[in-house]
Each structure stands twice: as structure tokens, then as C-alpha cells.
Amino acid sequence: MSRDLGQPERPDAADVLRQGPSDIIDEAPPPELWDGIAGELRLDDSGASTAPSAADGGGGEGGPSVVPLGDRRRKRSERIAVAVGIVAAVLLVAVPLWLAYRASLDLPDSEADLVALSEGDPATGRAELDGRDLTVDTSGLAAPDGSVHELWLLDLTDDGELADLVSLGIIRDRGGTFEVDPEVDLERFDVVDISLEPLDNDPAHSGNSILQGELG
């Protein structure tokens, strides 16, 4: 029964799986938690041999400057804010009013008609983005045995080059609502793609796109 995990009596993956999924939930760390880590690293850098104290409440030292933690993220959000500001300035007041109007009608932030890539393919679809929830609905999608349909967001450059892609998961029952990971920049990943994927061990996109549409 034992696999080579170094401890002959310990349960293996199959044993642990039979206990069911873990019920431990993530807990968002308070800001000062990272400050404490960064503070300790500063002390390490300066050569001081301070062992982390178990009794320490974890609050960072006031003195050393904290690792510029949010810099990369602030810069990105600043860039987006500037970009949005420019667009808004160009369109004057139209964009904010338009978005507010759409929101007041309970319309999605953006939407796309999904069009078949193959001539004569009757498959169609629709995608709606509401905050970070992407809802898709399709008709005419047929999955042969051993295949499924997978939903992706593509990041295409202005020249139509593929910069990156991210999978949102497998589509069951012709559609569904998928939560887009917070890391995914929806300004860049704005092309919805539905592919036909063989049930193999390859997580890559099969290259066989059935429906595509650009969110706008």
C-alpha cells in the first residue's frame, strides 16, 4: 500500500481523497501582516542577526521603510486610470453617462456576439460581461464523444497577434457564468473564444476554435 513518500504508514493520495474535499477557506491577510514580513527582510538585509520572535505580535517596525509592495500594482492601475481618463476626455461626458445609463438599465458592462469560424456552421452564441462574471449562452454546439467545449479569453494585439490566452473552464449545458480571475486584465483579454477540446492530458488550446467574439 505504501508509496515512496518516506513514511510507510502514511495515507497516500487515494486515501486522502476519500476523506472528501478540504473545508479550509482562504482568509485575507490584513495589511500589517505583509508589513511584518517586509520589515524582517529589511533587518536581514542590513546584516542584523535578528531571529523572528514568536512572541512578536507581527506588527512591522516603524523605522525601516517597507518594501514598495504595491508599486507594480499601483503603476498598472495608474496606467489604466490614465488611459480611461484620456478616452473619457476624448468622448467628453458621453462615456461616463453612457456607462451609467447602461448600469441603470441593468445592462452588462460589455457583450459580444459569438460567431462561428467555420462557414456554414450553425453554431452561435452570446457573451455578457458583468463586473468579473462572464455569462455565455450558445446554440448549435455539438461535442462528439471524447470532446468538450472550453471557454477562453484571448489577448490580441492591435495587429491581431495572440499575446496571451486564459481558460475560464469547460462549458456544460450550452453555457454558464464564469468568474474571471482577478489577475486577468479585462482591458486586454477582450476576445471570447470557445474551442472544441479533446479530453486528453493537454491543457493547451486545441487550436480548434468554434466561436469567437470581441467584447465591447
Binding site: 477557506i25 527582510l41 456576439d113 469560424l117 492530458n201 480548434n208 476554435s209 465591447g216
Partner: protein, 198 residues
């Protein structure tokens, strides 16, 4: 009100063979950590901090925040020992959390005060810690499996389907189902091994 018309499907096309893998930008988080990039520790914390804190909360209760700090400091100091080829950063961090939690109880000599645990002898603590950590590692590792393997393993272990039943439900050959199950369990056992390394 201005209605902004967007042309649908202006860039529709099939993906070329070289394009199909999600790439991200630049070296991976694991590579950056190994090369001593401090910003990588912050990214590791952003990605896995909530999982570590949640796990620490179950293992040591009120001292969870402090334990979480110890885990990430230890991760930084032992980053040269992290081998991304062997397993995920998540499994590695759960392993550090496991050992920090065990040390915590050994040092204190107190009985655990986790909400769900019954009052018990000290000797029961380590097996319970191991059980909780193992279960979390596997749950996360399962989520990270390629879709086909994940489906097969979940149907087999969470829904108690037999291999022939899974084959019928997914409309796959029986041999493929067995292969997915074997490969899936191999991957899960690897993650478990990484989490159990001292």
C-alpha cells in the same frame, strides 16, 4: 447619449500551433523566487497568503497571523530549496506551514484550541495537523489538474463512480479513463510528497 458601435468579430481566427499555451509575461513566479527577486516574494504572498493564513487559522487558531509571517520568511530564506520541477509553490508553502504548526505546538506544550477539535491528548495533535494539511494540499492540487484528469479523479473519488461508469459518463474509452486516473493520482501524490518534505 452616445451609442458606441463596436464591430463584432473583427479579429476572429483560429490559433496557430505555437500560440496555444497561456504564456503570461516574463519568467515564472517560481523562477523569479529562485533568482532572489524580492518582488517575487510579494507576488507569492499575494497569490498564496490567503491560503496559508486560512490553513494557519485551523492549525494554531489565534496565532495564525504570526505563523503566516513565519511561513513566508522561511520560504524566502529557504527559497534555494524550492524546486518547481518537483511540485507547486502552493504545496511547498503548505509543507512549511505544516512544520511550523507542529513546532508551534511542541514549543507551547499546550493542547490545541482549534474550534472543531475535541479536547484531546497532545499526542493526537500531529496526526490531525497532517490530516488537515494533506486534505488541503490535495484539494488545491486537484483544482490544478488538467480538466480531463480532474474530471476523472473527482468522479471516481468524490462521486464514487467506477471506471466503467466514468467512461460511460464522459464517453471515453475505458483505457483512457484508467490512464487519466493513474496520471492524476501520480500528480496528486507528487504534490503530497512535496508538502511532506521537511
Amino acid at each position: 447619449m452616445v451609442v458606441i458601435e463596436i464591430e463584432p468579430v473583427t479579429r476572429a481566427r483560429r490559433l496557430g500551433p505555437a500560440e496555444r499555451y497561456p504564456r503570461g509575461v516574463g519568467p515564472s513566479l517560481e523562477e523569479r523566487l529562485a533568482t532572489g527577486d524580492e518582488a517575487a516574494l510579494r507576488d507569492l504572498f499575494d497569490e498564496h497568503g490567503p491560503m496559508v493564513l486560512g490553513l494557519a487559522r485551523r492549525l494554531v487558531g489565534a496565532d495564525a497571523e504570526d505563523l503566516t509571517q513565519q511561513v513566508f520568511l522561511d520560504a524566502w530564506r529557504s527559497r534555494h530549496r524550492f524546486d518547481p520541477e518537483k511540485g507547486s509553490a502552493a504545496a511547498w508553502l503548505t509543507g512549511i506551514t505544516r512544520f511550523k504548526a507542529i513546532d508551534h505546538w511542541r514549543a507551547s506544550g499546550r493542547r490545541p484550541s482549534t474550534p472543531s477539535a475535541e479536547a484531546g491528548t497532545y499526542e493526537m495533535v500531529e496526526p490531525e495537523i497532517d490530516r488537515v494539511v494533506d486534505q488541503l494540499v490535495l484539494t488545491r492540487a486537484l483544482e490544478a489538474l488538467p480538466p480531463a484528469r480532474r474530471e476523472v479523479v473527482e468522479l471516481g473519488f468524490y462521486h464514487d463512480l467506477t471506471h466503467p461508469e466514468i467512461a460511460e459518463k464522459l464517453r471515453l474509452p475505458l483505457g483512457t479513463v484508467k490512464s487519466h486516473m493513474r496520471r492524476g493520482l501520480e500528480a496528486l501524490n507528487r504534490e503530497l510528497g512535496v508538502s511532506r518534505e521537511p
